[in-house]
Every structure is written in structure tokens, then in C-alpha cells.
């Protein structure tokens, strides 16, 4: 069934959109990521204008993370205090990222920058995660003791000021690392049109040394707030959020997210990380190959004069 999308100004198959939404929702429930890094390229591939794809993805990311975040909160797997610190940094980062985006757009470099940053980021993070999680699986299989992650946290950022206690994570660290981390991810997510969970999850594990069982929930909470902000900002400033497209993706996402959560419970944490790493790496590789091969059409057409 074809449905006309009033902002994107094209008509697409409604069932295909619901399917895409549920697939992304499944992944977001499973890994605690918003899924924007998959959804935005998928929508562009289906013919949605890039600006509408990125902005509308944000609303889908917000929705799929709300169902996940509620489930995780009920399971007491969200560190709200950490979430609020991350939100503070993330919100500032989003505003900063929007300025960078506008600057790049003005100089005409945005179309060079976006695919490159996608490739660099996805392959770096995917590669690092894959190496770590495969090593972790190996260690577990051989029956060796898993290094305690929380023990290292106190020493790693020990010299930084403004210490804060996070009772839920059993962490006492300076607020600076999470603030800077969230700022960086927030600005990146504004430029790339993603929620940033796929960066947040590994960063919280490896940099902040948060307990892995709290990482998914807290990341979902942070992604939820940032994605809501991005949706509102894009709708307000750029008029690029398509509510009909969003509704169809949401329908799928609402179906997929709880299934993903259930699937995640059957897998071990390191296996889950390895899977996410493969997914991120695969997406980065695909974009890289796209940039490598000589395109059939040397020109790209984009609407608007700006």
C-alpha cells in the first residue's frame, strides 16, 4: 500500500516502512542504541530526501528508546544521575553540532564531511568493539577471570576535579569525563543525524567503566532525551520532520523494540557487544565501499538552493 509523505513529498510502501521501523526497533531494544546510524542511510536509500531522513530518524530513535528506557527503568537498569549529567553535556553538544553543521553547509563541505565521518567513526568503533568483545568471549570460554571493570574506574580519572558519586553505578568519578563524552557525542549526533547510542555504549563501558548491566539502560535514557531535542529543533528550524513517515516507522519500532529486548536477554553481554560491533563495522564497510567504487552517475542532485 503506497502512502504519500507530506513533508518528504514522495509516496512509499507503508508496509516496507513499518518493516524498516521494526527492524531498527529490534536492534535498538537489543543493543540499547537508537538505530539512527542504520535508519538514516536506509531511508535515504528508499528515496527520502537526506534532510528529512535524518530529522525523521531522530523521532523514531526517541520513540524506540522510550519503550526501551521504560523497560530498563522498571528493571532498575538506568543510572538517572549519570543520565542527567550526560544529558547536560549532550544538549550543549547538540547545539554546538548544529552550528558546525550550518557552517559546513555554508562552505559547501557538508557532503564531503558526512560520508567520511560515518566511515571513520563506524569502522573505528566497530573495530575496537569487535576486538575487545572477541577477546572477552575467549577469556570467558577458557574460564579465566574477567577483569573487574569498576575497580579501575577510581584510578583512571582520579586527578580530575568535581567528583560526583553515582550510587546506582557504584562509581565516584569527576563529572568532566561524562560531560565531555556526552558533548562530543551530542555534536556528532547533530551532524550525522543519529542518536549516538552506538558511540555511547562502548564509551560508557571502556571510558567511564560503568557496570555493563547499567550501560544499555542509561544510554537509552540519554539517547531518548537527545533525540527528542533533535526532533523538536529540526521541526522548528528546518521543517524537515515528516510526521506520517515517523508514525509508520514508530508503529514498526514499537513492535520491534520489545522483541529485541527479549532477544538480548538470551545472549551474553560480550556476545551482544560482538554482534553490535559486527553491525557497526558492516555499515561502515558498506559506506566505505560505496565511496571507493566509481559511481555510475558522477553527479548528485539535491533539492533547494541553500
Amino acid at each position: 500500500m503506497q502512502v504519500y509523505l507530506p513533508i518528504a513529498e514522495i509516496s512509499l510502501n507503508a508496509f516496507a516502512l513499518v518493516a524498516v521501523g521494526s527492524m531498527v526497533g529490534f536492534l535498538s531494544g537489543m543493543f540499547g542504541v537508537g538505530g539512527g546510524f542504520l535508519l538514516t542511510p536506509l531511508l535515504i536509500f528508499m528515496g527520502v530526501p537526506p534532510s528529512v531522513a535524518a530529522s525523521t530518524s531522530a523521532s523514531q530513535v526517541a520513540a524506540s528508546s522510550v519503550s526501551g528506557a521504560i523497560t530498563q527503568a522498571r528493571r532498575r537498569a538506568v543510572d538517572f544521575r549519570m543520565g542527567l549529567v550526560l544529558f547536560g553535556g549532550g544538549f550543549a553538544g547538540t547545539i554546538f553540532g548544529v552550528q558546525i553543521f550550518a557552517l559546513l553547509k555554508l562552505s559547501g563541505q557538508i557532503d564531503i564531511f558526512i560520508p567520511l565521518i560515518y566511515v571513520v567513526l563506524l569502522s573505528t568503533i566497530g573495530g575496537l568493539m569487535l576486538a575487545e568483545s572477541v577477546a572477552a568471549i575467549h577469556r570467558r570460554r577458557r574460564g579465566r577471570e574477567i577483569p573487574k571493570s569498576t575497580a579501575a574506574a577510581g584510578t583512571r580519572w582520579a586527578r580530575l576535579p568535581w567528583k560526583m558519586h553515582f550510587p546506582r553505578s557504584k562509581l565516584t568519578i569527576s563529572v568532566l569525563p561524562p560531560l565531555f563524552l556526552a558533548f562530543g557525542v551530542g555534536s556528532l549526533s547533530a551532524v550525522m543525524g543519529v542518536g549516538g547510542g552506538f558511540i555511547m555504549v562502548p564509551a560508557m563501558i571502556y571510558l567511564l567503566r560503568m557496570p555493563p548491566n547499567l550501560v544499555v539502560g542509561t544510554s537509552l535514557f540519554q539517547v531518548l532525551i537527545i533525540a527528542s531535542c533533535v526532533t523538536l529543533l529540526q521541526a522548528f528550524q528546518n521543517h524537515t520532520v515528516d510526521i506520517v513517515l515517523a508514525a509508520l516507522l514508530l508503529l514498526g519500532g514499537a513492535l520491534g523494540a520489545p522483541l529485541g529486548l527479549r532477544a538480548a536477554q538470551r545472549l551474553k553481554a560480550d556476545e551482544l557487544r560482538a554482534l553490535l560491533a559486527l553491525l557497526v563495522l558492516g555499515m561502515g564497510l558498506k559506506l566505505f565501499i560505496d565511496l571507493l567504487g566509481e559511481p555510475r552517475e558522477l553527479f548528485v542532485l539535491a533539492p533547494g538552493a541553500a
Binding site: P6, I112, V300
Partner: protein, 288 residues
């Protein structure tokens, strides 16, 4: 001499929508749902009467006496609703003097600004470079003919009349057609927004003709202009222009307007929708 032709044209114009309403106005896939409630002859009986009146006015013997080319559209608006998947408008016409001729129609959509970027190889990667802005290019441009173009008129003449898609490229590039302008036409052709449909116009005895103007689902909204040119023996005889609108209606229109005019409210609505659906789904699926 003129009257039978006019009568015939009018009867034909009326008879076709009556006998096959889906054929004249609606999308090929889902005729009933595409039909806009406000502008379909079927749903508002007075519209058809109005069209009939216009047909009579358009085919007024005093006007046609001078050998004018007269045309008639089956509808003046294509409504873009929730299930819009393309539509078509029938264009009827009568040639002057009831004689046969070769007809070429250039159907042009709204002119929208566009950017075109050329990919270059940087460190082995194909990356889009700086955009070039194209102004004054129609977002939709299709040429329909009654005979293959080569048999109709010389290419130079057709280009001057803007009845060849590459005349758009010529118009964009100034005196020398730029690589970008040619690429623009190439991409638009691949998207089926530009192109030529030869022998698509049906001609009948008595100088009557009929053609379906197809508007695909990816065509932009706005004013569409059909320039109808008549040729005889390779020579240009006359031309006339008729137009119609492709417009969002109902729900789709409300949304587009809300997004544009009350963007804060629209944004809050989007966020609210996203959060409430997500929350509802979580609540619903909590119980296995």
C-alpha cells in the same frame, strides 16, 4: 463546417469521463482512494457541468474561426492525498480546419531550485564536491507527441519551442550547455520526471486528439503547464497553453501547512507522538 467538429469534441470530452471515470482522473493502482473529494466529477455533479460549459466556451465557433487550436483538460487539479500514487489528466483537443496534424505537447512542472554536485576522486574515495546551484529548471518536464519527433519537425525548431528535454539543459547552461546541466537532465530522466513519449497522442478523424498526461507519485506539487504545438509537414502552425495544479489536499495539506506555519507546535506534536507511542508500546508489551 466548424460546428460538427465542435459538437464531436464536446461529446467526446463528456462521454469519456462518464464511461470510464477511473481512466481520466485517478491513479492506476487505486482509483477509488486517490480521487479527491472536492474536485472529482463523480463526487460533485456540478463540476462536470462546469467542464461541459468550458468546453463549449473553449470551442466557441467565433474563436475557432481564425484557425485556433483548442484544448480541454478533464480536470483542473490533481489532488495529492494520503494514498497518492500518481495520477493522470486527460487532455482533449481539436485542430483548426478539422485537418490532421502533428501534435507535440511539452508538459512542464514548477521551477524549483536545485543543487548539483560532482563526485571527485579524493584519496581513492569518490566524494561529492562543491554544489552548483541550478535556478529556473522545471522539476518536471515531459514531451508527448503524436508521431516520432524526427518525423514531426526539425530539431532546431523543436528546441526553440522548448519541446525537447535537452532544451532545458540548454536553457540552464547559457550559450554552452554545461556538464552539470546535462547531468541534471540525465538524473531527472532516470527518475522518470523528464522524458519523451513519442506517439502517445491519439489522433482521430476530424482533427480531434486525446492524450493522458501522467503525473508520477514523485512529481512535485505546483502549477503544471501544457504547451500544445501543432505542426503540419514539418512546419509550425500554432500553439496554445493550458494548465492545471497538482496540490496537496485534506490531511496532507493540513500537515504541510502546520509544519510550515506553526513549526513549534508541529515539533511538539512529533515529539509527543514519538514518546507516547513508545511508552504505549512498552506498557502494552510488558505483559507477555
Amino acid at each position: 463546417m466548424k460546428r460538427p467538429a465542435i459538437l464531436l469534441l464536446t461529446l467526446w470530452a463528456i462521454a469519456i469521463p462518464i464511461s470510464a471515470p477511473a481512466q481520466t482522473l485517478s491513479a492506476p493502482t487505486n482509483p477509488a482512494e486517490v480521487s479527491p473529494p472536492s474536485s472529482l466529477p463523480g463526487s460533485r455533479p456540478d463540476v462536470r457541468t462546469q467542464i461541459r460549459d468550458e468546453a463549449l466556451i473553449a470551442a466557441d465557433p467565433d474563436i475557432n474561426e481564425a484557425g485556433e487550436l483548442s484544448t480541454l483538460l478533464s480536470d483542473e487539479i490533481i489532488a495529492v492525498g494520503a494514498t497518492f500514487a500518481g495520477a493522470k489528466i486527460a487532455l482533449f483537443g481539436a485542430l483548426p480546419d478539422r485537418k490532421r496534424g502533428d501534435v507535440v505537447i511539452a508538459l512542464k512542472g514548477p521551477e524549483l531550485p536545485a543543487r548539483i554536485l560532482k563526485r571527485r576522486r579524493i584519496l581513492g574515495l569518490w566524494i561529492a564536491g562543491e554544489p552548483r546551484i541550478l535556478l529556473g529548471a522545471p522539476a518536471f518536464y515531459r514531451v508527448l507527441t503524436s508521431k516520432p519527433l524526427v518525423e514531426t519537425a526539425p530539431a532546431g525548431l523543436l528546441r526553440r519551442l522548448e519541446a525537447l528535454p535537452d532544451s532545458v539543459a540548454a536553457g540552464l547552461g547559457g550559450p554552452d550547455v554545461s556538464e552539470e546541466a546535462r547531468a541534471f537532465v540525465r538524473i531527472k530522466t532516470a527518475e522518470k520526471l523528464y522524458g519523451v513519449e513519442e506517439s502517445a497522442i491519439e489522433t482521430r478523424a476530424g482533427g480531434l486528439f486525446k492524450v493522458d498526461l501522467r503525473i508520477p507519485a514523485n512529481a512535485p506539487v505546483g502549477l503544471y503547464e501544457a504547451k500544445v504545438h501543432l505542426f503540419r509537414d514539418g512546419r509550425f502552425i500554432s500553439s496554445t497553453t493550458t494548465s492545471f495544479h497538482v496540490a496537496k489536499t485534506g490531511f496532507e495539506r493540513e500537515i504541510a501547512q502546520l509544519a510550515q506555519n506553526s513549526s513549534l507546535l508541529y515539533g511538539l506534536l512529533c515529539v509527543g507522538l514519538a514518546l507516547s507511542w513508545g511508552a504505549a508500546a512498552a506498557a502494552l508489551l510488558r505483559r507477555p
